[in-house]
């Protein structure tokens, strides 16, 4: 335990999330280690996305959403009064379910973050773009088409581009919400390889509906489910190996073995 604490990047303490009067997440306490992939699994509607969006304060965009409890990124209190959500989101990047490049060129997409954060020099932007596109193994494919609209790329490539766009803000944590669900198997494999590779330097959290994916790529797994009052709970959390081989909770076991719809 102490080993994980030392390295841990993200931490929640008695986290509760409400959408207006709807209690969506209840009493979630967990530590997410750095330089590893943590997968959140569970049936649809159990609050996986809601939990993920707690970490970059995406729920701020929903007026009726309210968070109770503590969330920490290292020593920063994510919901602390002095914490600026805009600054926080530069540290906690997010890749969405559907590839969502902006209707602009490949180049402009990748550097949109750095541009906003004040990088103006063309050379600097170009090297950022090359760097990030190389990291997602896209550079060779698109280096001659950087001015092309990103919308013309195939879906799988768009998602790689979106990951590059997130890398360009130099985050410490990357949140991925079912980021492979819109992709074909081959692109999925490429993105999974990318996750594994990125996990060497980033803290990665993924939400996935694919048990196989969780088993393949993640180091830690969190199983969530709604309780009798339809409130999202963290049922079991541990190393992926343990969750998938010797789940402690009956519900986890049922879900893993496919006995749950």
């Amino acid at each position: 335990m102490s080993e994980i604490s030392e390295k841990s990047r993200l931490r929640t303490e008695n986290l509760n999330l409400y959408y207006g009067s709807r209690h969506a997440l209840k009493d979630i306490t967990m530590e997410i280690p750095s330089r590893a992939i943590t997968a959140i699994i569970g049936p649809s509607g159990c609050g996986k996305s809601s939990l993920l969006r707690v970490f970059n304060r995406m729920n701020d965009l929903i007026p009726e959403a309210r968070v109770e409890g503590n969330v920490y990124l290292d020593k920063i209190s994510v919901y602390g009064e002095e914490t600026d959500a805009v600054a926080l989101r530069k540290k906690v990047g997010m890749v969405f379910q559907k590839p969502n490049p902006f209707p602009m060129s490949i180049f402009d997409n990748v550097v949109i973050g750095p541009r906003r954060h004040g990088v103006k020099h063309r050379d600097e932007l170009e090297s950022i773009a090359e760097n990030c596109l190389r990291r997602v193994a896209l550079w060779e494919d698109v280096k001659d088409n950087l001015r092309q609209s990103a919308l013309n790329l195939p879906l799988g490539t768009q998602q790689q581009l979106c990951i590059a766009r997130t890398l360009a803000i130099e985050p410490e944590v990357i949140l991925m919400d079912e980021s492979c669900s819109a992709l074909d198997p081959e692109s999925t494999m490429r993105v999974e390889e990318l996750m594994t590779e990125l996990a060497q330097s980033y803290t990665i959290m993924i939400v996935t509906h694919s048990m196989e994916q969780a088993a393949r790529v993640s180091d830690m797994s969190a199983f969530m489910m709604i309780d009798d009052e339809k409130i999202g709970r963290l049922v079991e959390y541990g190393t992926t190996e343990q969750i998938f081989s010797t789940p402690k909770d009956k519900r986890t076991e049922d879900y893993i073995t496919g006995r749950y719809g």
Partner: protein
């Protein structure tokens, strides 16, 4: 007697088709009639000479200049105000009392006949602010008149931008204003521009609101404080006072051509602007092959 679904479908289709054709025919008839009567008058000297004898002779150079200036003042003032209001309505309010008041005001403004704008402009700009009959008074009056159109079309365009763009932008550490400016605006630009073009057309064609505010001077305006007579007002005067039917139709023909050019030209510009982003990419991407 009972019609089969198929034949009633056919009848409905033909009625709708006939209605559409009727609209086209009426439009074509008006345009052809005016062009036939007016085109013979249109000449280089008609376009470049100042009217003489109250428009009985000479050209319409000063009304052309007046039209351009009044329209420019109106659009340059109404666009930032209207787009700003639209951004506020679409991005910053959550349906509170202020939103309702703004929207109610904008909708009410849209339903007011233009002569009432003219009267207001006369009382407020011409008399109270002492701007007199002038391009400025006319332009300001038109600005208020076209404001609702610009607000509504811009708001619709901004609301039409997918929420995922905003969400993504925020997730990349953008502030709200950066998101609006760099992501929402570019995506909404086409709708916003359409509203502005529509407003230019209305300004060019307006008479009632201008008679009372811009005046009816036929002299070439020398400043924004000078009175002027726009082409539409000029046409109205020539026709109503039976000064010169030929020149009236010449002016009307030019108005129609102008509005046509504005619409088509703006569309071409817009398409070029949009596909230019695509063209550049092809030019550069093409190097590869």
């Amino acid at each position: 007697m009972k019609l089969s679904a198929k034949s009633s479908e056919k009848i409905a289709k033909s009625i709708i088709w006939a209605a559409a054709m009727l609209v086209v025919a009426v439009l074509a008839a008006i345009v052809i009639y005016i062009l036939a009567k007016g085109l013979p008058t249109l000449s280089w000297s008609f376009l470049t000479e100042i009217p003489e004898g109250g428009g009985a002779a000479g050209g319409i150079a000063s009304p052309i200049v007046g039209t351009v200036l009044v329209t420019a003042v109106a659009v340059l003032i109404a666009t930032p105000l209207g787009v700003g209001t639209a951004v506020y309505l679409a991005e910053y309010t959550k349906g509170g009392a202020i939103t309702k008041i703004i929207r109610f005001s904008a909708e009410s403004l849209a339903g007011i006949p233009s002569i009432v704008y003219g009267l207001f402009g006369f009382i407020f700009f011409v008399m109270y602010l002492g701007l007199g009959w002038s391009i400025l008074s006319g332009g300001l009056t038109l600005a208020i008149m076209i404001l609702p159109t610009i607000i509504r079309t811009s708001e619709e365009a901004i609301r039409g931008v997918p929420g995922s763009y905003r969400e993504t932008s925020f997730s990349l550490g953008a502030t709200k204003w950066q998101t609006i400016y760099k992501v929402v605006f570019p995506a909404a630009i086409q709708g916003i521009t359409n509203g502005i073009i529509l407003s230019v057309g209305r300004s060019v064609a307006e008479t009632a609101a201008l008679v009372l505010t811009a005046g009816s001077s036929l002299r070439m305006p020398t400043s924004l404080f000078a009175p002027t007579r726009t082409m539409a007002v000029h046409f109205y005067t020539l026709a109503m006072e039976d000064i010169s039917p030929a020149n009236a139709f010449g002016t009307a023909a030019l108005l129609i051509i102008l509005i046509f050019i504005i619409n088509v030209g703006a569309n071409i510009l817009l398409n070029r602007f949009i596909s230019n982003k695509g063209k550049k990419k092809e030019a550069k991407g093409g190097k590869r092959n």
